[in-house]
């Protein structure tokens, strides 16, 4: 069974952040509150990355998700001011959506706990290696010629295209 140490307690605290924040995002009728709940949820994700010994990913989660995407969403909420507080939050088929979500969750939980797709995910006493690749190795993997340099460059190109495209789409054409 689980031993109760600092990592386990941190895991449960971050799980509460993640799930509670996610529930807040889908239930809050005021979108500013929804965006703040989103930040809480993403912060829980960053905590998970620290627990999984991926500190660079945790930093990127805080910088990119919380620092850029959440702020962008708050800007969009404020630019669409009249839509921030709506009385009808859900559409007419919300119960169908809830059913779909619950069925998907049931399927995923069964798939994780029972060894349906081989026992890779559910092996109880799988040995965990203590040798973890460092952030330096990640940086080398991104730029070394025989690893991921081509996807890295394509991602930069995509980001440039997205930046130009977002400016073109959001620009006011009349003025």
């Amino acid at each position: 069974m689980l031993e109760l140490n600092a990592a386990t307690i941190a895991f449960f605290i971050f799980s509460i952040f993640l799930v509670g924040g996610a529930l807040g995002v889908v239930t809050s009728s005021n979108l500013i509150h929804g965006a703040l709940y989103l930040i809480i949820s993403l912060f829980g994700g960053a905590g998970f990355f620290v627990l999984l010994s991926a500190p660079f990913m945790a930093a990127v989660q805080v910088l990119v998700y919380i620092g850029a995407i959440a702020v962008l969403i708050i800007f969009a909420v404020m630019l669409t001011r009249s839509m921030t507080r709506m009385t009808e939050v859900y559409n007419r088929q919300w119960w169908l959506s809830a059913l779909a979500g619950a069925l998907l969750l049931l399927m995923l939980v069964v798939g994780v706990i029972l060894p349906v797709w081989g026992n890779g995910g559910a092996r109880p006493n799988m040995p965990i290696s203590d040798i973890v690749a460092t952030t330096e190795a990640l940086g080398v993997a991104f730029v070394s010629g025989d690893q991921y340099v081509l996807p890295f460059e394509v991602a930069s190109l995509l980001l440039t295209g997205v930046m130009i495209g977002a400016i073109v789409l959001a620009r006011d054409t009349e003025s």
Partner: protein
């Protein structure tokens, strides 16, 4: 250490909450926020599998980093489209955007 399946269960719960939000919310910005939730839970899955099965190999973290890039791109273009629609139609409710309906 906490076993792998607990990370997967938490990520699955967040993903399904995100699915529910995408399918049921009326405001397009709220739908985009739910999509961000789903992407972030997928990232947790990727990093958890990386840590528990191949931590000396870089592929898992690289994959998660590309998911970050795609999430940023999706948020930027999505919000630009939403603001453009709001400017033209004074609404971000997805049911009001029905120009392509026959």
């Amino acid at each position: 250490m906490v076993p792998l399946w607990m990370y997967l269960i938490v990520a699955a719960i967040v993903f399904c909450i995100g699915v529910y939000g995408v399918l049921s919310r009326r405001n397009a910005v709220a739908i985009l926020m739910s999509v961000e939730l789903m992407l972030s839970s997928v990232n947790i899955n990727l990093i958890a599998f990386w840590r528990y099965t191949a931590p000396e190999n870089m592929a898992g973290q690289v994959f998660a980093a590309f998911v970050f890039v795609i999430a940023a791109a999706e948020a930027a273009v999505g919000l630009a489209i939403i603001i453009s629609i709001y400017r033209n139609r004074r609404s971000v409710i997805v049911e009001d955007v029905n120009l392509l309906r026959g």
